[in-house]
């Protein structure tokens, strides 16, 4: 019963997060919403596994956290650098063109 209440609460929290993702206003707010939504999804997946009596599905929750990270980094990099290819965190001059 408590677990079902937990799942319901997480569903409400996810709905609120979706509202933030739809409203924006900046794209960083949306990325934040996706990231936060991902964490809540992981939690909901874990709780659902117990509610339905098959905790073996935790594997999905385990992998989802790193995948969420990859997506967030990709989005962040897109907005900040407009490129998926260049390395992060190098000062100008540290890296030069080959040709």
């Amino acid at each position: 019963m408590l677990l079902a209440a937990g799942a319901a609460g997480l569903l409400v929290a996810m709905t609120i997060t979706i509202a933030r993702a739809i409203m924006g206003p900046s794209h960083y707010d949306r990325i934040l919403a996706v990231n936060s939504f991902g964490t809540k999804t992981v939690l909901l997946l874990s709780v659902i596994g117990f509610v339905f009596g098959r905790p073996a599905f935790l594997d999905i929750a385990i992998i989802y956290a790193p995948i969420n990270f990859v997506t967030t980094i990709a989005l962040m990099k897109f907005f900040r650098y407009r490129s998926l290819a260049q390395p992060l965190g190098l000062s100008a001059g540290e890296e030069t063109l080959d040709d």
Binding site: I18, I22, S83, P87, G89, L90
Partner: protein
Amino acid sequence: MIALPSSLNANLVIGIALLVMLLVVAGAIVRTRSLLAAIILFSIYSLVSAVWLVVMDAADVAFTEAVIGAGVSTIVLLGAILLTRGEVEKPGWRALVAPALVCAGVGGLLIYAAAGLPALGDPASPANAHVGRAYLEAAPKEIGAPNIVTAVLASYRGFDTLGETAVIFAAGIGVALMLGFGPHASPLPPAATIGDHHVVLRVSAKFLIPLIALFALYVQFHGDLGAGGGFQAGVIMAAAIILHALVFGLRDTMMAVPPRLVRSIAALGVLLYAGVGVACMLNGGAFLDYDYLFPPAFEKQVPGWLLGDPEHAHHWGQHFGILLIELGVLLTVAATMLTIFYGFAGRTVEAIRQERGA
């Protein structure tokens, strides 16, 4: 008369709540003019549908959707946006009334037809009563893999899966031919990022990348025991390498995992899959009939303790067959996803260079 389980249970309620969320997100995707917002919302859409799939007992599908929908397809879409420079859709859609009328009409027909479909969870519906049940009853005896989805995917419908693996391979080749293999891509110096050190990101990425790759192997080899398999593992493996490219730059990644090697691996995967089928034929069975994976003379030489329970001795070939073809799927899927990423990300560099040069 058998009492059906009560219709209003946690399963149904959570499922409907998630579907409503899906509808809201889909509506927002339709409405938004910003393509970037649409991509971000599509990532959320995939996530919600992944949770819904878990609620509907489709653990393997949920795994795939979570990894692909929210991971790889977002990154591919971002790459496409970068290359087309089209971040905002032009206002003024061609026509709104005629498409809306057509969609409303077709949608109305579909909803009308839905009333004739079996109720959700009807155990006696034609789809669930015959062929699905037959697989459930036969698979543990004939294949011996606890995960029946994997048993059907890799063994009963192995030929179908071979075709799908070949389609994925072909799609990867198609993208590579259109966008290039990205062999000349070298990163530009970041413009004006003095003092912008992502030390935290780099250190934790160094820690995470091997962890993700390790988990991909777990998903791969655990595939016939629990949720998972070659498709999921391949995408997770590709995600680990994509993370490396995102943090340390495409050039470093291309030195570690050269595009030429990736292409060969993609072909090798399909070859391995088909090769297993041919091996079965050479030993006297049908194509992809893993019971004949090993020659009968060889199986007689195997010591009894390796085979385990003599009653299930014939599962030996099935186990190895499934492992081998899942390995082929892993190689092809991982290499194809990487080829696609190299294609999009590598072209970005060339496009920027051309623009700056012009």
